[in-house]
């Protein structure tokens, strides 16, 4: 059993509108899972089902092998996209209240809060009212409240919104540290570069259906188009690569006269690779030969567009 969370054939209807259609997915233990999808695809509904805010009309969810039950609330930490704090309450008091709602005792909550306030460098905020805080400051408090009760499963929905780059990096480090500490993390965002940086697995939801799921590296392998980026300096003169290779580059070519260097991308079958490499090194200086890996952004757009054209 290597999944912390199993979602099996979950469907959800709002009146006649179907928000989720028999979605099944496995969230691997101790990893970061990117839950992606266009706006209105059904991500938030799925996340709310995991948090038992709403309940599925069909299907089941298992946390750590057990069917989801009210006591699991204490084992999940959820940072919603639409988040806020009581304006007129003091920061410390409020954090204490939210931590206790998650099932911590008052003393435990206090101790944990102290640790986290020190760690994120906001120790002197305890007696401030929330309305005195900036948006980024309030976000920090919300992050702490989400992770405070050491949940095994953490769900972050757009965790970096409202943070400046320095604080965003700080939060990213904290998320990675939590993963090192054994937590499993679901990460939902529209910022693909952070998916690229953080996630080992992804799932893509589009129009209530799960249309792509798996290990990020494996998905990339499937989506690669056998394209290679090449930087090469020919030995004699400046002939165009197409004359040399007898084929057209897919992208490029670009010639830098100062360095006498060509940059171009070729589409190659595995069987052609060895021969080409040999040719290039015989007739010039091969500076780089690299397979072009599709970015998450490319995969996202490609997959969604393919679905749209099918529909």
């Amino acid at each position: 059993m290597n999944s912390i969370l199993s979602i099996r054939e979950v469907s959800k209807f709002y009146g006649s509108y179907q928000a989720l259609n028999a979605v099944s997915l496995e969230i691997p233990r101790n990893s970061i899972y990117g839950l992606l999808g266009p706006n209105g695809a059904g991500k938030t509904t799925l996340i709310r089902i995991i948090n038992q805010i709403t309940f599925p009309d069909q299907g089941q969810v298992f946390l750590d092998g057990e069917p989801l039950a009210p006591h699991h609330i204490a084992q999940i930490g959820y940072l919603p996209e639409e988040r806020g704090l009581y304006k007129s309450m003091k920061v410390g008091e409020q954090a204490l209240y939210l931590a206790q709602l998650k099932g911590l005792s008052r003393a435990e909550a206090k101790q944990q809060l102290k640790y986290w306030f020190e760690k994120l460098d906001i120790g002197n905020w305890w007696h401030k009212k929330v309305q005195e805080l900036s948006k980024g400051m309030a976000q920090k408090v919300q992050f702490i409240v989400t992770v405070l009760h050491r949940p095994k499963l953490l769900i972050f929905d757009e965790p970096f919104s409202g943070f400046d780059p320095i604080n965003a990096a700080m939060i990213k480090d904290q998320i990675l540290e939590l993963k090192e500490g054994g937590a499993s993390i679901i990460f939902s965002t529209h910022r693909m570069e952070s998916v690229e940086e953080l996630c080992e697995h992804i799932g893509l939801i589009h129009r209530s259906n799960l249309i792509l799921e798996g290990k990020l590296s494996a998905i990339k392998k499937i989506h690669k188009q056998n394209r290679y980026e090449i930087r090469w300096t020919p030995l004699n003169g400046t002939p165009a690569p197409e004359e040399l290779l007898g084929r057209l580059p897919v992208i490029g070519p670009h010639y830098d006269a100062e360095d006498n260097t060509w940059d171009f991308t070729l589409e190659l079958q595995d069987s052609e690779k060895g021969e080409l490499l040999r040719y290039l090194s015989e007739h010039g200086n091969l500076a780089s030969f690299r397979e072009r890996i599709p970015s998450v952004n490319d995969i996202f757009i490609q997959t969604v567009q393919k679905q749209e054209s099918h529909a």
């Binding site: 009146g15 948090n51 988040r83 806020g84 009581y86 007129s88 309450m89 939210l98 206790q100 709602l101």
Partner: protein, 445 residues
């Protein structure tokens, strides 16, 4: 249960620490007592103002009839002519001059008597004077018919009929109204509480939506727990406020009365017009017998039953209405959108109060009173107005009380269930104001 306690605690503290709530709590009794003191003071000033009326009596009648009474003093003038009298009265700043000319008969005098004043005369003065004339004329005419003054004095005595119920209890005039007022006070208290603190519950739900904290909380507790905690916490704050109000207002009142020496009876008095009719009415109302009966009846009101039922109706009625308020708060994004939904809740409350005042006071066990005291949205107020008459014979039939409570209980469960469903969906909905149709759809989510 533990979480519910936490929510109640937070809601209570949030409310009690709120600045405007604190100010209202301590300012209201001061304002209230200040008002009472002001009214008492003004009444006293009004009372102490004596209007001086000079009487120039040239006739042989009315020698002893103009006695000074509350508000008017009569000053007899002698040996001067009317024109001189007018001038001097005006000079001395008297209120007016009453002139009785020299005539042979009493009727002649009354026909030609004149009251001169600077401006149009005050009704109280007029009524007092007219009363004196009427009384004297009546006596005179009866004398013509052979009725002596002593006999007339006996005829003037007021009369009040003795009343009793069929079971033999003595009852007094106005006892129904009196009982309904006692019950009505409880009913009115419930209505005020619902409107004030129901509104607080609604605003608190809207606040959670606009600050977007709702989803964070809902991932830790069930929406129903949050709703219930909010309602209970707010009502505890309300009860605290009410207790402080009652306690501090009575303390202040006592202190004020001791220091300023205001007679509480002043507030009870109604300045009645003079004259025969008035004095008749007064003697009827102020009969020792009647007030003693009222006190007896007051003591006979089943206080235990009334307070017990008050608690039941208060708790159930408040929970019904405040959960509707919570659902409304959940359905909208801001307070301005609430109007369309609030009107239908206020209506049954208003109806209950009006029905109470116009129907229950005069006929506590009539069909309208019975219907409204069983209908669950109005029963908390109307039934309490009927209850001071007791339960059973002569009071509310037991089956009506039980039916009313049972219906209220069923309604309570149904409404809270419905409100919780709307609440659960509404708190996560942002954007446009929902229609009633959409609310109905939410019930099926």
């Amino acid at each position: 249960m533990h979480k519910l306690g936490l929510i109640i605690r937070r809601e209570y503290l949030a409310k009690v620490r709120n600045k405007s709530f604190v100010i209202m709590t301590f300012l209201s009794p001061i304002l209230l007592v200040g008002m009472i003191v002001l009214i008492a003071y003004l009444t006293k000033v009004n009372d102490n103002e004596k209007r001086l009326v000079a009487v120039l009596n040239e006739s042989p009648f009315f020698k002893t009839d103009f006695e000074s009474k509350r508000g008017i003093s009569f000053v007899p003038l002698h040996g001067i002519g009317l024109e001189t009298a007018k001038d001097s009265v005006l000079d001395m700043g008297y209120y007016g001059l009453l002139y009785l000319p020299q005539r042979a008969s009493l009727e002649g005098v009354t026909e030609d008597a004149f009251l001169y004043t600077k401006d149009a005369p005050n009704t109280l003065v007029l009524e007092t004077l007219e009363g004196i004339f009427e009384d004297r004329l009546r006596e005179y005419r009866l004398q013509q018919l052979g009725v002596s003054s002593e006999e007339y004095a006996r005829v003037r005595m007021g009369y009040e009929i003795n009343t009793a119920t069929f079971s033999g209890q003595r009852s007094a005039k106005g006892i129904n109204e009196f009982k309904a007022v006692v019950g009505g006070a409880f009913g009115y208290l419930i209505m005020m509480f619902i409107i004030i603190y129901g509104g607080f519950v609604m605003r608190s739900v809207i606040e959670e939506k606009t600050t977007r904290i709702i989803e964070v909380i809902i991932s830790s507790v069930r929406p129903f727990q949050l709703m219930l905690g909010k309602i209970i916490g707010t009502s505890l704050a309300g009860v605290t406020q009410f207790l402080i109000w009652i306690f501090s207002a009575s303390l202040l009142m006592i202190a004020v009365m001791l220091f300023l020496d205001i007679d509480p009876a002043i507030l009870m008095q109604r300045p009645g017009p003079g004259g025969l009719e008035a004095s008749l009415a007064q003697s009827a109302l102020s009969g020792d017998d009647t007030s003693q009966l009222l006190v007896e009846e007051f003591l006979k009101i089943p206080m235990g039953l009334l307070v017990g039922c008050f608690l039941i109706y208060f708790v159930l009625g408040y929970l019904i209405y405040s959960s509707i308020y919570a659902a409304i708060g959940a359905a909208v994004d801001n307070e301005t959108d609430t109007q369309q939904f609030i009107f239908p809740i206020i209506m049954p409350l208003m109806l209950a109060i009006y029905v109470g005042f116009f129907s229950v006071f005069s006929n506590p066990h009539g069909p309208i009173a019975v219907a409204f005291s069983i209908f669950p949205l109005t029963s908390p107020i109307v039934m309490l107005m009927r209850l001071p008459g007791g339960v059973g014979e002569g009071g509310v039939p037991l089956w009506q009380l039980l039916a009313s409570i049972a219906l209220l209980l069923v309604t309570f469960l149904a409404i809270v269930w419905l409100a919780a469903k709307i609440y659960r969906v509404g708190i996560l909905m942002y954007g446009k104001k929902p229609t009633y149709r959409e609310l109905y759809k939410w019930l099926k989510y």
